[in-house]
């Protein structure tokens, strides 16, 4: 029994004295190279997220962002309206200018859609 206890104590001491090995410098360099590679991968991934807006987004930024686009849209709609809704008739204007008639009526300046109703 005494012998067994002594053996156990020796084993405990032997186990306790067992230290961790000193890693080779080459291993530490490999480990840090992996860490650097992971950091680099993450930087690339983060850059990809930033650049994922595409050419539409780039175009938008080039013209001044959404405020500029709302101005463009308003101008476009206004242009279309002017194009389609011309004044009633040039004859009315001519009469006014040449003073051959009684003058303008409010209706002369209202948009005229008659041309759109003509069949043909």
């Amino acid at each position: 029994m005494t012998k067994r206890n002594g053996s156990d104590a020796e084993l405990d001491r032997l186990l306790a004295e067992t230290g961790d090995p000193v890693p080779a410098e080459a291993l530490m360099q490999r480990v840090m190279a992996d860490a650097d590679a992971v950091l680099a991968e993450r930087r690339v991934a983060a850059g990809r997220v930033t650049d994922s807006r595409g050419w539409m987004s780039d175009l938008l930024q080039a013209v001044g962002g959404w405020p500029a686009v709302t101005g463009l849209a308003t101008a476009a709609v206004g242009g279309i309206w002017i194009g389609f809704a011309q004044p009633g008739s040039l004859a009315n204007v001519a009469e006014g200018v040449l003073a051959t008639g009684s003058g303008y009526d409010l209706g002369d300046f209202m948009p005229d859609y008659d041309s759109l109703l003509v069949e043909g």
Binding site: S7, A16, M28, V31, A35
Partner: protein, 194 residues
């Protein structure tokens, strides 16, 4: 024993890992200095092969770097997670060895290794390493984690994914087997037959 890579700082492993996760390279260097010696030592004792253990240590650390941006402090200990990864990597390698190259399995200790009396400490450690290789794999893991790495039984249970009672049983049986393996070499190792 002086551990040149053991740089003591005020930060926990978990805090350093989170710091690396947000891009702090110096945190990775500190973690590597703390953890690689432990990981390497554990893997060496499980595998009995330094070169293979270095590959395992590198792979385990790479997995740690990769998980760093998802790590949440307070959920787990870095060392527990790392020991678990190393255990699994070593188990995989030992399984492959069984099927691929049966000659690569270290021989269990026998009395004919050396008849030289009064071996130095280095030889005792070599004898211990040899005796550890003679243990069944799970006993070896439990004994190394408990008696060499100094983990508490609940932490070993988390590493090995078993209950605490199973850990106690494995360490007790493993230590008995280890003592028996070394008993025949007491004189050779310079111990008195008191």
């Amino acid at each position: 024993m002086t551990l040149p890579f053991d740089a003591r700082t005020e930060f926990s492993d978990e805090a350093l890992l989170v710091a690396f996760g947000i891009g702090d390279r110096a945190a990775a260097m500190e973690l590597a200095q703390r953890l690689v010696p432990r990981v390497l030592g554990y893997a060496t004792r499980l595998l009995g092969d330094r070169a293979e253990a270095e590959d395992v240590a590198q792979e385990a650390m790479l997995r740690l770097w990769r998980i760093s941006d998802e790590w949440r402090q307070g959920e787990a200990k870095v060392t527990t997670w790392l020991y678990r990864v190393v255990t699994n990597l070593c188990t995989d390698r030992l399984r492959k060895r069984r099927w691929v190259d049966i000659d690569a399995i270290p021989e269990p200790p026998d009395d004919a290794v050396s008849a030289q009396a009064g071996l130095e400490e280095q030889d005792r450690q070599a004898a211990l390493a040899e005796a550890l290789q003679g243990l069944p794999e799970r006993q070896r893991q439990a004994v190394v984690l408990r008696h060499i790495e100094g983990l508490a039984n609940p932490e070993i249970a988390a590493v090995m994914d078993i209950g605490v009672e199973a850990v106690e049983s494995l360490t007790a049986r493993g230590k008995r087997a280890l003592a028996a393996a070394l008993a025949g070499r007491r004189e050779e190792l310079g111990y008195d037959e008191a």
